[in-house]
C-alpha cells in the first residue's frame, strides 16, 4: 500500500516535469510562428519602426492585399507545388512500398545485393556537380515538371524504413497463407501488404509530402521559367532579391527594376506557404508515431 502511494507520487512528479518540459518546448517552437503570423497582420511601418511583436500593434491586412493584388504568380507557384506534392507522393509511395515489399521477401534471392546498392548510395554520393550534369545534360530535364518530381521519388532512408516496417508488420506466415489460398505476388502486395503497412505508408507519405512541399533546391537549379517555380522557391527568391540588392549592388552599380516586397508582405507569404501543410499533420499524426517507432527500432 505504502509503496504504491509512493509510486504514484513519482508518476505524478514525472508527469508534471514531462508536461512542463513539453509545454516549454512547444512554446519555443510556436513563438517564431506567432511572430510571423502577427507580422503578417501588422502594418509595414510598425514593423520597420518597432520591430516584431507577439501581437500586432497596428493591425493591417496590407501584406495579404499585396500578395493577392497580382495573384497569378503566387497561384501558379501554388499550383506547381500542389501538383508535384500530390503526384510525387503518390508515385513515391508506390515505388517505395514496392521496393520495401520485394526487399523484405525471404524468397527473393538477390535481396541483399539490391539492398546493398541502395544502402551504398547513402554512404557515397556523387556530389552536386555530377548530379547536376546527370539531370541537366544526360536526361535533359531542365525546365520540366519531371525534374521537380523525379529526383525525390526514392530516398534510400525511406526504402529501408519501409522494408523494415513491412517485415515487422506482415509476418512471413501470412504471405504463405495467402499463397496457399491462391494469391499471386501482386495480389499479396495490394490486398495484404498495403493494408497492414498503413502506419508505415502514412509515415513515409508524410515525409515525402513534406519533402516535396518544402523543396526549393531543385527549382533553384533546374527551373528557369518563372511560371514553373515551386512555392517555396518563389518565396525564397523574392527574399534573396532583397539580400542581393543589399549585398551585391554595393560597388557593382547594377540597377534592379523589380519591386521589393515589404516586411509584412514577406510574412504574409510565409503564412500562405506554410498554411496547407499544417493541416495535413493532424490527419496522419495518429499513424505517425507508431510508423516511425516500429521502423526505427528494427532499423
Amino acid at each position: 500500500m505504502h509503496t504504491r502511494a509512493r509510486d504514484s507520487e513519482f508518476t505524478m512528479l514525472f508527469q508534471v516535469i514531462a508536461y512542463t518540459f513539453i509545454l516549454f518546448l512547444s512554446i519555443i517552437c510556436l513563438v517564431p510562428f506567432l511572430l510571423i503570423l502577427s507580422g503578417s497582420f501588422s502594418s509595414n511601418e510598425s514593423i520597420v519602426r518597432d520591430g516584431y511583436h507577439l501581437f500586432p500593434t497596428d493591425f493591417s491586412l496590407e501584406g495579404y492585399k499585396m500578395v493577392f493584388k497580382f495573384p497569378t504568380q503566387v497561384l501558379k507557384a501554388y499550383g506547381v507545388t500542389v501538383f508535384t506534392t500530390v503526384v510525387g507522393t503518390a508515385l513515391g509511395l508506390f515505388f517505395i512500398t514496392m521496393a520495401g515489399f520485394v526487399l523484405q521477401r525471404k524468397d527473393f534471392k538477390y535481396r541483399n545485393t539490391f539492398s546493398f546498392f541502395i544502402y551504398f548510395t547513402t554512404l557515397f554520393g556523387g556530389g552536386l556537380v555530377p548530379w547536376y550534369i546527370m539531370l541537366a545534360n544526360y536526361f535533359n530535364l531542365t525546365d520540366t515538371y519531371t525534374v521537380l518530381i523525379f529526383p525525390g521519388l526514392m530516398t534510400p532512408f525511406l526504402i529501408i524504413l519501409m522494408k523494415n516496417f513491412i517485415r515487422s508488420a506482415v509476418p512471413d506466415e501470412l504471405i504463405e497463407f495467402a499463397k496457399i489460398d491462391g494469391a499471386n505476388d501482386f495480389r499479396i502486395y495490394f490486398s495484404v501488404v498495403l493494408n497492414l503497412a498503413m502506419p508505415g505508408i502514412a509515415t513515409v507519405g508524410l515525409f515525402l509530402a513534406l519533402g516535396y512541399w518544402n523543396d526549393w533546391f531543385t527549382s533553384s537549379l533546374f527551373i528557369n521559367n518563372p511560371d514553373m517555380y515551386q512555392l517555396q522557391f518563389y518565396l525564397y527568391n523574392t527574399m534573396n532579391t532583397i539580400t542581393f540588392i543589399d549585398q551585391m549592388a554595393i560597388g557593382t552599380g547594377i540597377t534592379l527594376s523589380q519591386d521589393v516586397p515589404t516586411e509584412s508582405t514577406k510574412m504574409a507569404m510565409a503564412i500562405i506557404v506554410t498554411g496547407p501543410i499544417l493541416f495535413l499533420y493532424p490527419f496522419v499524426q495518429r499513424y505517425f508515431v507508431r510508423g516511425l517507432t516500429i521502423g526505427a527500432v528494427k532499423g
Binding site: V48, I133, N240, D246
Partner: protein, 518 residues
C-alpha cells in the same frame, strides 16, 4: 551463405569499379567531343545555315513580358540570321553556384553575362570561355568597330579577348547620402569629412532621438570611411585581406589591418557606438540601408550609395515624403579623383560549350548595334511598355502594371550610348557623371585577376575569423578595442593571413608589371 556473400562482394566491387571507369570515360568523351564538334560546326556556319536556337543566360529574374519580347526578337533574328534565341534567367537565389554549374557542366550555352563580380577574370583564365579575337573581324565587324580599341585591350586575359565589354561609361563610385532637411533644420555642418560627419551625427542623435543616425548592415560603413580618408586603388574601398594599396604608389602594398590607422578607426567606431550612432543589433539588421533611409528611420548612409542608387532614393522620397530633402557627398570629391567602371564590369562571353559560337556572336552584334534589337531588349515594346517624350524615356503605367520596366531584362551589358534613353529623373545622375568626368582617372584595379587557389583554405578560414572577431570591432561592440584588435590579428595570423597577403602582393605586382603600371 558466408562464402557466397564474399564472392558476391568481390563481384560487386568489380562491377562498381567498372561502372565508375565507364562513367569517367563517358564524361571525358562527351566533354571533349562536344567542344571539338562545336568549333567545327561553327567554322562552317558563317553564312545563314540551318536554323538553330541560341541559349542566352542572364543573371537575376525575368521581367513579366519576357515571352513577348522573346518572340519579337525571334522574328527579327530569324529573318536576319536564321536563329532563334531562348532567354534564360538564373534568379538571384544562389546565382553564383548556378553560374558555376552552368559553366562547369558542359551544358550548351551560347551567350552568358560576365562581370568582375561574377569572376570573369578567373573563369577566362581557367578556359571557360572561347577567345573572340579571330571570330570578331569575321562575323561581327560592326561590333568590333563599335567597341573602342582601348576597351578591347582592357578586357584581355592572357592576351586574348573573352568578353564583349559594354561601351557606356558610368560611375559606381560611392558617397555619403544624408538628410539635408534635418541638417538645415538643426543647423548642422555638411558631413564631408570625419569631423563634420561626426558633428552631423551628434546633431541628429541629440535632436531626433528616435532615429538611428547611421543606416548600416553587416558593418559595411568601414568601406565608406576608408574612401573618405584614403586614396585607395579600389573605387569601392573594398580591398581584400585588409590590404592598403594607394592609387599614387600601387606597387607599395601595406597591411591596413593591425596598423595604427586601423586602431584609430576602430576607436572611432567604438566612440560612435557609445554615442548611439549605430543600432544595438547592427550585425543582425536585415533591412537594406536604403529602406532605412527611405522610411525616415536613419539619417546617413555611408556605404554602397552610388549616384544611381542615390537618385533612386531621391525619387522614392519625392513621392512618399515630399517635405524631406536628401544631400549627397561623393567620395571622389574627398579623394580628388574618380574612376569610371572598368570595361570588364559589364560584358558577354561565349562559353566553351557553345555549339554555335559564331552565330551567337553575330546575334550579339545585332543586340548591341541594331536599334530595333536594342530598344526591344532594353525598354520593351514601344507604345506598350514605354514611349519617347521629348527625347526622354517614359514608362507606360507603373512598375506594378508594366510588364517590362526600363532595362527590365537586366541588359546592363548591351547598353549602347548611341541608342540610350533616360528617364527625366536621370538627368541629375548624368550631371553628377559630368562632374566626375572632370576628375577622371583610369581604373587600375579591376583588370587584376586574383588567383586564390594557392591559399583557398586560408581564405575560407580568414573569412570566418573576420566575421567572428572583426565585425564586432567595426561596430564598436568590443569594450577594449586594443585587446580586441590584437586578438583579431592573432587569430587572423593563425588562419594564414601572412601567407595570403604575401601571395596576393606577389600576384598584384606581377600584374602591375605586365600591365605596365608604375
Amino acid at each position: 551463405m558466408h562464402m557466397r556473400n564474399k564472392t558476391f562482394l568481390r563481384h560487386l566491387s568489380l562491377i562498381i569499379a567498372l561502372m565508375m571507369f565507364a562513367g569517367v570515360l563517358a564524361a571525358c568523351n562527351t566533354g571533349s567531343g562536344e567542344s571539338t564538334q562545336g568549333s567545327a560546326e561553327g567554322g562552317s556556319s558563317t553564312s545563314k545555315g540551318d536554323k538553330v536556337t541560341l541559349q542566352f543566360y542572364m543573371l537575376g529574374d525575368a521581367p513579366k513580358d519576357l515571352p513577348t519580347i522573346e518572340s519579337e526578337i525571334n522574328k527579327l533574328a530569324e529573318a536576319d540570321l536564321n536563329v532563334n534565341v531562348k532567354f534564360n534567367y538564373t534568379s538571384w537565389t544562389d546565382w553564383d553556384q548556378k553560374y558555376k554549374l552552368l559553366l562547369s557542366s558542359g551544358q550548351p550555352i551560347d551567350l552568358i553575362f560576365t562581370a568582375d563580380w561574377t569572376f570573369y577574370q578567373s573563369y577566362a583564365k581557367k578556359g571557360a570561355f572561347l577567345a573572340l579575337d579571330e571570330m570578331l573581324p569575321k562575323v561581327a565587324p560592326t561590333l568590333q568597330a563599335h567597341v573602342p580599341e582601348d576597351m578591347w585591350n582592357a578586357v584581355k586575359i592572357n592576351e586574348k579577348i573573352y568578353t564583349v565589354p559594354s561601351t557606356w561609361i558610368e560611375y559606381v563610385t560611392e558617397g555619403i547620402a544624408y538628410r539635408e532637411d534635418l541638417r538645415e533644420k538643426y543647423n548642422l555642418p555638411k558631413p564631408e569629412s570625419m569631423e563634420t560627419l561626426e558633428a552631423y551625427l551628434e546633431g541628429i542623435k541629440a535632436n531626433e532621438p528616435d532615429m538611428i543616425p547611421i543606416a548600416d548592415s553587416n558593418a559595411n560603413h568601414t568601406h565608406g570611411i576608408r574612401q573618405l580618408n584614403s586614396k585607395l586603388v579600389n573605387t569601392a574601398g573594398q580591398l581584400p585581406y585588409g590590404l592598403d594599396i594607394m592609387y599614387e604608389s600601387p606597387s607599395n602594398v601595406a597591411s591596413y589591418w593591425g596598423s595604427a590607422q586601423h586602431l584609430e578607426d576602430l576607436k572611432t567606431y567604438k566612440r560612435w557606438m557609445d554615442k548611439g550612432f549605430f543600432p544595438k543589433n547592427v550585425l543582425n539588421v536585415k533591412d537594406t540601408s536604403n529602406s532605412l533611409l527611405q522610411n525616415g528611420k536613419a539619417a546617413v548612409i555611408l556605404s554602397g550609395e552610388n549616384p544611381n542608387k542615390f537618385n533612386a532614393d531621391v525619387i522614392k522620397i519625392q513621392s512618399t515624403h515630399p517635405d524631406w530633402k536628401l544631400g549627397y557627398f561623393p567620395y571622389p570629391n574627398a579623394k580628388g579623383f574618380a574612376q569610371p567602371v572598368h570595361p570588364i564590369h559589364n560584358g558577354f562571353a561565349i562559353p566553351r560549350s557553345s555549339k554555335n559560337p559564331e552565330r551567337a556572336l553575330a546575334f550579339y552584334e545585332k543586340l548591341v548595334t541594331d536599334k530595333r534589337y536594342n530598344w526591344l531588349t532594353e525598354y520593351g515594346v514601344e507604345g506598350k511598355n514605354f514611349e519617347v517624350q521629348d527625347g526622354y524615356y517614359k514608362m507606360i503605367g507603373d512598375a506594378q502594371t508594366n510588364g517590362f520596366p526600363r532595362e527590365g531584362m537586366n541588359g546592363w551589358a548591351w547598353r549602347n550610348p548611341e541608342f540610350m534613353l533616360y528617364d527625366k529623373s536621370f538627368d541629375d545622375v548624368l550631371t553628377m557623371f559630368e562632374e566626375l568626368d572632370k576628375i577622371k582617372k583610369p581604373d587600375i584595379f579591376t583588370g587584376f585577376a586574383e588567383d586564390w587557389t594557392p591559399y583557398q583554405a586560408e581564405k575560407a578560414a580568414l573569412e570566418q575569423v573576420e566575421k567572428q572577431y572583426l565585425y564586432p570591432l567595426n561596430v564598436g561592440l568590443v569594450a577594449d578595442v586594443e585587446t580586441g584588435l590584437n586578438t583579431f590579428m592573432e587569430k587572423a595570423k593563425q588562419a594564414g593571413l601572412e601567407k595570403i597577403q604575401s601571395e596576393y602582393t606577389k600576384q598584384w605586382q606581377e600584374y602591375l608589371k605586365s600591365a605596365g603600371i608604375q
